[in-house]
């Protein structure tokens, strides 16, 4: 049946597509010009009307999340497309240990070299999987790279000038969670849950493949980033932070609450240390949980992961990561903080 379907497509589609193209091409430039004119006109007509303070505050936070994430997304997509187009699959089989249980910690530690936040790591991990890297190893890289890279380590040190151990704890706990989740996935994960993005070898030059991969990943991941940005901005404006201070003194609950706050706020991993430092009412362990969970699980990341690897992946991967993040933070906090 699938064979026939494919055969039907090849027979039917080309004339249809030619017809569409000739109809579409002359119209599109005019539609485009119209949209641009409407946007410029709308600025004079609508902007004076759309001034409700709540709407403006929401829009500022929403645009800020999108604008702030875009350079990292573009960087991650560039890197991912470069991996797909220019690095041969044989490189990864040689670079990573053959045994998957050993490959997971190696890939997790390799996360320390990619400077970027979580928006960059999803497309890169998907590019790695497409190039034949064991999914569990790519997932360990996905989780560790936004939390333990040099930029984030320095930002954490700046935000906690009096507590150098916070930096050490964050590094150790994040790496531990990444490796544990990778191993759990290796042991219990099924390949059917994860949609590994297969990249068929492109027919054209590698530059064409590079451009196509970039365009696809940017639009796809960007769309899901907007979903996350919409949710995070709404919660940011609607939920008052005063609700938090009431639980700050309860031992385990406060850790879980800050973990959940990290999920809801979806702050970039390069900035979350400053926010954690401002939550002065909470214990260091609770702040550590905020720093460990934030780069691994948050709303925009869940949207990105569900979009890239499939929904059946996200509903299993996200709770496991969150749970291990909380447990590891409590354990590391007990020992180091």
């Amino acid at each position: 049946m699938p064979d026939r379907a494919v055969a039907d497509r090849t027979v039917e589609i080309p004339p249809d597509a030619w017809g569409r193209r000739s109809a579409v091409a002359p119209v599109m430039p005019w539609v485009f010009a119209l949209v641009v004119v409407l946007l410029l006109l709308g600025r004079f007509v609508l902007t004076p009307v759309l001034t409700a303070p709540a709407l403006q505050t929401w829009a500022t936070v929403f645009v800020a999340i999108c604008v702030q994430a875009l350079p990292f997304l573009v960087f991650g997509v560039l890197l991912s497309a470069a991996i797909t187009a220019f690095v041969p699959p044989s490189f990864w089989t040689r670079a990573l240990p053959r045994h998957p249980y050993v490959a997971v910690p190696v890939a997790g530690a390799a996360g320390a070299v990619l400077p970027g936040c979580e928006c960059a790591s999803v497309p890169v991990a998907s590019g790695l999987m497409a190039r034949g890297v064991t999914p569990a190893a790519a997932l360990a890289f996905l989780l560790s790279s936004p939390a333990i890279n040099p930029v984030v380590v320095v930002a954490t040190a700046v935000a906690f000038p009096q507590q150098p151990l916070m930096v050490v704890s964050r590094f150790c706990a994040s790496l531990a969670v990444a490796v544990l989740v990778g191993w759990v996935w290796l042991r219990f994960g099924r390949s059917g849950w994860l949609r590994v993005p297969s990249r068929p070898p492109a027919s054209g030059s590698s530059w064409v493949a590079f451009r196509d991969a970039m365009r696809h990943d940017l639009l796809h991941a960007g769309g899901f980033l907007v979903v996350g940005g919409l949710t995070a901005a709404t919660l940011n404006v609607v939920v008052p932070r005063t609700w938090l201070s009431s639980v700050a003194d309860v031992p385990v609950l406060s850790v879980v609450v800050l973990g959940l706050l990290a999920v809801l706020l979806s702050i970039c991993s390069e900035a979350d240390a400053f926010v954690a430092a401002s939550l002065t009412a909470f214990s260091p362990t609770a702040k550590l949980a905020f720093l460990v969970v934030g780069p691994m699980v948050d709303l925009k990341l869940i949207a990105l992961q569900a979009g890239t690897f499939g929904r059946s992946f996200a509903i299993r991967f996200v709770p496991v990561t969150f749970l291990l993040g909380i447990v590891t933070s409590i354990a590391v906090g007990e020992v180091l903080l």
Partner: protein, 262 residues
């Protein structure tokens, strides 16, 4: 979504980012000023990607004659999906086909052009909550203030001196604070406020100082307030519960500063 729409969205998105970074300085409402080069680079990459796609698409009628195999890539009609019979499988595989979620990228573009979001103001800082205590600094980090004239300082420094300075360097000294006006539920005061941002507006925290003895200008007016610190009457109230207070001698309205955040 066909290639033409994909390219259009990329052009709009790249254009909007360049609009707030190159053609204006609105980007300081959303991110740190130092972020500008990265934003310009990202916007340029997105724009170029879109323009290249558009140019290719306009040229295509001539190209398809020679490479007809390209033709079946960018159809996304319902009938094709039904014929393929495997809806989810094709999403995200074929590079020329992108799921409809990409249309959402128009939302930030519309927000930038139509709402033109201003910097966070009195609405974001409306809660009566006091600012979080700043990180403790060693006592010698606070240099003594001039006695004969008013010293301009950031709200963060004022709060740090009010709460974290054991030598009370603020006592009796005139200072000038810059911020916007936020009303208070108490009758005798209003707040001069500045948002403190570490990365983007989503992580901004309101720094507030209560202004006493002065008529309240309308919310969101930018002002320079000159006055002296009012030491708390008891030291039983822990830092971070009530905003520090300033007895104002002069309030001057000013235009919004270039960097709205601290």
């Amino acid at each position: 979504m066909n290639r033409m729409s994909q390219s259009l969205i990329l052009v709009l998105l790249g254009g909007a980012v360049l609009r707030v970074t190159v053609l204006s300085t609105t980007y300081v409402n959303y991110v740190k000023p130092g972020f500008r080069p990265f934003l310009i680079a990202a916007g340029a990459v997105v724009l170029v990607l879109g323009v290249v796609g558009l140019v290719q698409e306009w040229r295509k009628p001539h190209v398809t004659e020679t490479v007809p195999a390209q033709g079946d890539e960018d159809t996304e009609s319902g009938s094709t999906h039904a014929a393929a019979g495997d809806h989810g499988h094709h999403h995200g595989h074929d590079h020329s086909r992108v799921s409809r979620v990409a249309w959402l990228l128009c939302l930030p573009v519309f927000a930038i052009f139509l709402i033109a979001p201003p910097p966070l103001g009195a609405f974001a800082a409306r809660s009566e909550e006091a600012p979080p205590p700043p990180p403790a600094l060693p006592a010698d980090a606070y240099v003594p203030l001039a006695a004969d004239r008013a010293t301009s300082m950031e709200l963060g420094e004022f709060i740090g001196r009010a709460w974290g300075d054991s030598r009370h360097s603020l006592a009796g000294k005139k200072v000038t604070l810059t911020g916007f006006v936020v009303r208070s539920s108490k009758k005798d005061r209003w707040y001069v406020t500045r948002m403190q941002m570490s990365c983007c507006a989503a992580d901004a925290i309101a720094l507030k100082v209560a202004v006493l003895d002065a008529e309240r200008p309308p919310d969101d007016t930018w002002v320079e307030v000159t006055g002296t610190w009012v030491a708390p009457k008891t030291d039983k109230i822990p830092n971070g519960t009530v905003a520090p207070e300033l007895a104002a001698t002069e309030v001057a309205e000013i235009p919004q500063p270039f960097e709205p955040y601290e």
